[in-house]
């Protein structure tokens, strides 16, 4: 039972990241009809927003270390701590959550530039060409990031207040031995909030309503005098922000490196396909479902019966779904069947 609970949480956590990525991917596909192989790169860029912010905050000055008297020793003290002795360390500690504030405008801008600069020219081209050009873009961005940040993963800590573990077991009246890292719980909640915000935006605002109408019938909406193209561009920016936020918050869980995006890309595509191309609830459902499946498959009890199942479970499920129900779990009838 304990292992069961932990694996469910693990799965929900992983599923949160998958769902956020798949949400953006399917949003772009549903609106612009573009298959974006550079979406994982946006996730990676979001993660590097957090790394960058934490580096900016810790720009340091060399100060003589007074505690060592045998020789001249220097230590680095961030300017923030020198200027604001009380507040500085707190701000530095909160680098990752603060990065959210930076990620949103940066990713929005990047998304808009990417859409206007590149994606726009590929609306009418074949899916294979869209895949190829965005794949090329992903390679380019990855290499640029690599040349700035190096090839190694860069660990960036969560705020120290959230670095510990939560007594999940005690809350539920189970054994006290079941604990779970706070940050992962935060991530799960955060994913829920972002997903909720996207759904509220699309379902309960006029803007979102127009976007949904455009997804259903772009031409008619255009004929009604609405500049649907511009709205779709904004939606692309929104998808970039969602992917970026997913990346930013993921930093304390797995230290980011330049190819994390590519690793997530394949999985998030599988998630989109399982959920149904262009279906938002499908993407979220499939994300959590596959995350949980993957966690359970990596339990030792399961691995003893079926060795290697944890490596392939997601792909096996995807293959089965694609063959049995090509439109995915919640895909609309007739869309991309």
């Amino acid at each position: 039972m304990d292992a069961f609970l932990i694996q469910t949480l693990n799965g929900l956590d992983k599923g949160g990241a998958y769902a956020l990525l798949a949400l953006g991917l399917t949003l772009v596909f549903g609106t612009l009809g573009v298959v974006n192989f550079a979406h994982g790169t946006l996730f990676m860029l979001g993660a590097f927003c957090a790394v960058t912010l934490s580096r900016i905050l810790t720009i340091s000055k060399q100060v003589k270390d007074e505690s060592i008297t045998f020789f001249d020793a220097y230590k680095e003290i961030p300017y923030l701590e020198i200027w604001f002795p009380d507040l500085g360390p707190v701000i530095i500690d909160m680098a990752v959550p603060l990065a959210i504030v930076m990620t949103i405008p940066v990713m929005l801008l990047l998304g808009l530039v990417m859409e206007r600069g590149l994606i726009r020219h590929f609306y009418k081209r074949e899916h294979s060409e869209q895949i190829l050009v965005t794949f090329g873009l992903a390679l380019v961005v990855m290499q640029i990031v690599k040349s700035f940040y190096g090839a190694n993963p860069i660990p960036t800590a969560a705020p120290s207040a959230l670095a510990g573990t939560a007594a999940v077991g005690a809350w539920l009246g189970l054994s006290d031995a079941i604990v779970y890292p706070w940050w992962r719980i935060i991530y799960l909640l955060f994913a829920g909030v972002v997903i909720g915000a996207v759904f509220v935006f699309l379902n309960y605002t006029t803007y979102g309503m127009v976007v949904r109408a455009g997804m259903a019938d772009r031409e008619t909406v255009g004929l009604l005098g609405i500049n649907i193209g511009r709205r779709f561009t904004i939606v692309f920016g929104l998808a970039a922000v969602v992917a970026g936020l997913a990346g930013t918050m993921y930093v304390p869980i797995v230290p980011p490196d330049y190819h994390m995006g590519l690793d997530f890309l394949v999985l998030s595509f599988v998630v989109v396909v399982v959920g149904g191309m262009g279906s938002l609830p499908g993407a979220v459902l499939a994300g959590f479902l596959l995350g949980i499946l993957q966690s359970f498959a990596s339990m030792n009890e399961v691995k003893q019966v079926l060795p290697g199942i944890d490596q392939v479970i997601i792909y096996l499920v995807a293959v089965a779904i694609l063959l049995a129900r090509p439109r995915g779990l919640l895909g609309r009838k007739g869309v991309m069947e």
Partner: protein
């Protein structure tokens, strides 16, 4: 639009191709590409790319899973060396057979879908093979370390004294001719011979009624279906053929350098072959070969350059100018070679979807065409078909 060239013309073209390939060590030497490893890579990736073109170029099915067949071919060849003989013939044959069977299995499932679903299915299978090769299949693949030859291998077809006599590990040979003989050129010419054979078969496929049917599937699969034509077996055949080509390329990799690792199965490797094909020209006869050669060549050239060399190269700009130039350009060379590749790739897909062959045919029409301008249709991806 599709004019099928007369057989004599094909034959002439093929002979020119043979001469060009066989003399390539001579004429590639001045541009720094005349050394065995690179020439082998040209041939191997050329085979990989023309095989891929049989699928993607003729039927339009974009597979991201061909690296799995390449890897399967490599593993099979190394196992053939370990168990049977150091002669390359069984290794190559078995790598083709196993890769073909593997392709038949994966193709059977993946070809039930088309378009982007096909791409994602093949991607999923490739990723599955890669993950399995790294984890559970370690007894077969030797996991992260990769599969290598060992002194204690069985090699049941080789004479016993050979095993005992040689101090080090035996090397792959063709009836006694070792791949490393003649400064590595024995291996190069074995690869060239295989490339020429492979290209001949590929040429026949292109010109055959079978090839034309594949092209028809690409241009309109529904219409083929409506005329009462079952497309599945043809797609399946194309998939298996391109899988066999990939396995052959993987086998040759093991022949020239007898080890096999899982990284050959990673899906980015499939991305590389897609790139070669696109860069050269999808669906054209020579495009994939050109693309493979160009990419392998520039990878070797670009990734070898480092910053100090760049500074020397731009020393005429003065010290600061050279340093600035070098720091910008060093993004694109050495470790950053992939950046050049990605950028090149984007430029080609955006501006020249027909690849280099389209570029060549545009230049041809502009400057060498006897027909008045404006005659005939716009040069498109399909136009290059006639080459």
């Amino acid at each position: 639009m599709m004019s099928v060239p007369a057989p004599q013309k094909d034959m002439r073209m093929f002979l020119i191709f043979v001469v060009v390939v066989l003399t390539s060590p001579i004429w590639l030497a001045p541009i720094g590409a005349g050394y065995p490893q690179l020439l082998q890579a040209f041939a191997i990736f050329g085979i990989f790319a023309i095989g891929f073109n049989v699928l993607f170029g003729l039927t339009g099915y974009l597979s991201f899973g061909h690296a799995a067949f390449l890897g399967a071919g490599s593993y099979t060849a190394v196992w053939a060396f370990k168990l049977l003989s150091m002669n390359i013939i069984p290794a190559i044959l078995f790598s083709m057979v196993i890769a073909g069977l593997f392709a038949a299995l994966i193709g059977f499932v993946c070809l039930r879908r088309s378009g982007i679903y096909f791409s994602i299915l093949t991607l999923a299978f490739a990723q599955m093979s890669f993950n399995l090769a790294y984890s559970v299949l370690t007894p077969i693949t030797n996991g992260e370390t990769g599969l290598t030859l060992e002194a204690g291998d069985a090699r049941i077809l080789d004479p016993v004294y050979e095993n005992a006599a040689a101090g080090g590990l035996p090397s792959p040979n063709f009836f006694g001719l070792e791949m490393a003989d003649f400064g590595g050129y024995a291996g190069v010419y074995v690869c060239f011979a295989v490339l020429i054979l492979a290209f001949y078969v590929y040429l026949r496929i292109f010109r055959s009624p079978f090839g034309l049917k594949l092209l028809a599937i690409k241009s309109n699969q529904n219409r083929m279906g409506y005329t009462g034509f079952n497309t599945r077996p043809y797609l399946m055949a194309a998939f298996v053929i391109s899988g066999i080509y990939a396995g052959l390329a993987g086998g040759l990799m093991a022949v020239t350098d007898p080890l096999a690792g899982a990284e050959r199965m990673q899906w980015t490797e499939s991305g590389a072959v897609v790139l070669m094909t696109i860069l050269g020209g999808v669906g054209t006869l020579f495009g994939p070969l050109l693309g493979a050669t160009l990419i392998e060549y520039s990878e070797n050239i670009f990734s070898a350059v480092n910053k100090t060399e760049l500074i020397e190269m731009f020393s005429f700009l003065g010290q600061d100018g050279a340093a600035a130039m070098a720091s910008v350009l060093s993004l694109f060379v050495g470790e950053g070679w992939l950046l050049t590749l990605g950028a090149l790739f984007m430029i080609v897909v955006i501006f020249l979807p027909g690849g280099m062959m389209q570029g060549i045919s545009i230049i041809n029409e502009r400057f060498f065409s006897k027909k008045p301008a404006g005659d005939g249709e716009k040069p498109g991806a399909g136009k290059a078909q006639e080459v």
